[in-house]
């Protein structure tokens, strides 16, 4: 079965297509890669989430388009108990799951689907937990949902109660993420009976704006508008992902109108795109940060005055111009300015090599020689780490610090940069998952993350800072949380475990006749509001 399944899939898809002529309004998106599968839960890449979670599915709650604010989705409303431990979700009625030639839902979306979605990830004994050998639920575990959720109960068909082990403010933002997209329990049962359980990952059935039609591996994904969609009806009839891994080729396709929108243009092409009369460019400050993390457990980087002095030696403006081609803002905080809780009152590091040199001397640092690690891959938060490292090398040379640039293969880089006693400073970055400041500060800078396998590459553990984060995480008072995060950034700046480098701009080039596309600060690509004018 497995060998031929793509063929059967395509044939069934063809049957589906026969019902709807292709003369309809088709929107082609030149996506950058292939989805790993169509069940969003086991995967972690944005590419997969765009193709599955965002197109085909919905969550209980969702991010309001263009923001990281939470709004109702499959849950129409919810109540939170006084102690912040119980969340009761009132589910939307009359929501239909998609149908295909092998599955027609007999009932609307209900509480059983919510429980199925969460329990298959939460409970290792659930019959669907390992429905494909070797499957794991990385987001569920890394967002610590397993430690957070105590129980999930069905109150009635349209009410579900979540009980938490401890109050956690980012909980709602977490369940707006694609890994907890709501799947149909009835569809899973049907597949189970047919003996084709793996189709849960191959032929997705959701409640989302688009129905899955067919996937030709590494080439094309086809979707069709969901005519029964509970939300505003999509304006395009067919959505096609034309998988195009090379950025320059994506641009050529866009210019030739072979597709209408593309992600991740090469920074070198931005000027060309701006000059093209048939294209337009949407730009937005990205929810990300690129940084240089010192190892604060190794002398002389254990002294905040040394770190501050080195930060003063870096010409960040020049770095933004050279590395990001100017398409970024200089970072002064560890979280980006578009995120709530950003403390704009904090003063940026001054670029002052003379003062830096004097401060280093005052701290007793002489003839310092150090490593700067340059990551071997490109990321939106750091398009060219090698170049950044070279600039830092020459800046540090001006204050008498000798720098050796080192790099490793990406997997090794991630591993070695987290080794205790690591020498040197590491260039790395982060892109937000859910728009909550906790998703930056706790993941990257808390004491809990300063352990092997964590992501606190400065190995910086400041108790006051971590206490503020813990307090903010448990509070459901938004104004209080803002205040706590602002205080945390003050401590960060006093200690400067990193040199914060930049927050890069996200660009989305598209044809002039595309309307309704709203960039997500989280870097998601969603098309339910997109339209094409003549």
């Amino acid at each position: 079965m497995s060998i031929f399944s793509p063929r059967i899939l395509a044939v069934s898809a063809l049957a589906l297509m026969a019902a709807t002529p292709l003369s309809a309004k088709t929107f082609v998106y030149c996506s950058e890669g292939s989805p790993e599968g169509f069940d969003p839960a086991p995967y972690t890449s944005g590419t997969t989430f765009d193709a599955s979670g965002h197109a085909v599915y919905n969550r209980l709650v969702q991010f309001k388009p263009g923001t990281t604010e939470i709004e109702p989705a499959l849950a129409e409303s919810w109540d939170v108990s006084e102690d912040g431990l119980t969340y009761t979700f009132h589910l939307r009625k009359g929501v239909k799951f998609h149908s295909n030639d092998k599955f027609t839902p007999s009932r609307d979306f209900d509480a059983d689907d919510v429980i199925f979605t969460f329990m298959r990830q939460a409970d290792a004994k659930d019959p669907w937990h390992e429905y494909i050998p070797g499957i794991t639920y990385e987001y569920y575990s890394s967002m610590e949902m397993d430690k957070l959720i105590k129980s999930i109960e069905k109150v009635d068909d349209n009410t579900v109660k979540f009980t938490l082990n401890h109050p956690e403010a980012p909980f709602l933002a977490n369940i707006a993420m694609p890994f907890v997209s709501i799947l149909s329990k009835e569809y899973a049962d049907t597949l189970d009976k047919a003996g084709t359980r793996e189709d849960l990952n191959n032929v997705p059935i959701g409640t989302g704006p688009f129905k899955f039609v067919a996937y030709q591996k590494d080439a094309v994904i086809r979707y069709q508008k969901n005519a029964d969609y509970w939300g505003p009806a999509p304006k395009i009839d067919d959505l096609v992902f034309a998988i195009t891994p090379d950025a320059s080729v994506r641009l050529q396709k866009l210019k030739a109108n072979e597709c209408q929108l593309m992600p991740y243009p090469s920074p070198a092409d931005i000027a060309d795109i701006k000059a093209d009369p048939n294209l337009k460019l949407d730009e937005q400050a990205g929810l990300n940060v690129g940084y240089l993390a010192y190892n604060t457990t190794v002398a002389p980087f254990d002294k905040p005055e040394v770190r501050k002095a080195l930060n003063m030696a870096i010409d960040k403006k020049a770095l933004v111009d050279a590395v990001y081609q100017g398409d970024a803002v200089v970072a002064k905080n560890p979280i980006p300015p578009t995120m709530w809780g950003y403390n704009d009152a904090i003063e940026a590091d001054k670029y002052d090599p003379a003062a830096a040199k004097a401060a280093l001397e005052a701290a007793g640092v002489k003839d310092l020689s150090m490593e700067v690690w340059a990551m071997p891959v490109q990321r939106p938060y750091m398009p060219n780490a090698r170049r950044a490292a070279e600039l830092i090398q020459s800046d540090f040379a001006k204050v008498g610090v000798k720098v050796d640039i080192v790099s490793y293969e990406w997997g090794e880089y991630l591993k070695k940069s987290m080794e205790e006693g690591r020498k040197g400073a590491v260039i790395l970055g982060w892109t937000g998952d859910n728009g909550d400041p906790d998703n930056f500060l706790s993941v990257l800078l808390s004491c809990a993350a300063a352990t092997p396998g964590g992501a606190n590459r400065a190995y910086w553990c400041n108790k006051d800072f971590s206490d503020l984060l813990a307090k903010a995480k448990a509070s459901s008072d938004h104004a209080e949380r803002v205040k706590l995060y602002e205080e945390a950034q003050v401590i960060f700046k006093k200690e400067e475990p990193w040199a914060t480098l930049a927050h890069s701009t996200q660009y989305v080039p598209m044809r002039k006749n595309v309307t309704g596309f709203v960039q997500s600060p989280l870097g998601d690509y969603t098309f339910e509001n997109v339209d094409l004018t003549e």
């Binding site: 890394s142 591996k217 590494d218 080439a219 030739a256 591993k415 992501a455």
Partner: protein
Amino acid sequence: MLRFILTKLLYLVPTMLGITLVAFGFIRLLPGDPVLLMAGERGVAPERYAQIAAQLGFDKPVWQQYLLYLNNLLHGDLGNSLVTKKPVLSEFLTLFPATVELGLCAIIIATAVGVPVGVIAAIKRGSWFDQISMTGALIGFSMPIFWWGLLLIIFFSGILQWTPVSGRISLMYFFPPVTGFMLIDSLISGQAGAFKSALSHLILPSVVLATIPLAVIARQTRSAMLEVMGEDYVRTARAKGLSPLRVIGVHALRNAMIPVITTIGLQIGVLLAGAILTETIFSWPGIGKWMIDSISRRDYPVVQSGLLLIAAIVMIVNLIVDLTYGLINPRIRHK
């Protein structure tokens, strides 16, 4: 003849065993591992790492993993991708026809152009044609494929708009894959214009992929022809008063083709290497790009079984090349 084939096939067994060992070892010798790469910037706690490693069988000693792999292979199980969780064989079979289609077109272009160019260059040795074609071959041989592909796209698809930018067929055509070969499937589909669309999508990537083999074949044909044309039997043929066409076509070319066929056979490996870049530029859903992605993600099962499948195919092609010698050169057949 049968014995010849059987002996050759028997040689394949130890070679294949060696390849399993090399493929298995090679991907594990590379630094970095799949679990860490999946975790990315976030990192993974040591307990969780151990849990996933155990689930994937990486906690066992390497030799045990290897024996388990061999055992599974003997039972026809090539393993599942760590990334997509799908069987390696099913992914391979889905993608392989695209690579074959591209490779065949490339080798046809390379041979159809390379051999005549080489022959003419040899006959007109020292002429302007010889000079230009051999300089062209040298440039073609040294061409960075990625740059060359992009240049052709920008010129032919962007500026002239003669060919589509990338993909295998226009998105307006949609039919089930029957053979996996787009040219054939588009004909079977019966949809008007589908075949033309598939063909137009094939032109640029085939030309790009054919560039290096074409250069090699042209140069090889030229030198083989020059060598043969100095032989006594060619001089005799000329002396007998045979027409120049017959001298070159029958007496010289047939003998010159032996090393050329070896060269063409050897180009299969070059084609697969070239396919990696060509497939990436032209968004061509084949096995070259699949292998590269899998190597960079340390998708062990895909790399080790994918390499094995590719090696098996290269060996079978080489065997076929060996057999065609016999057709051209009776001396080998009689041995």
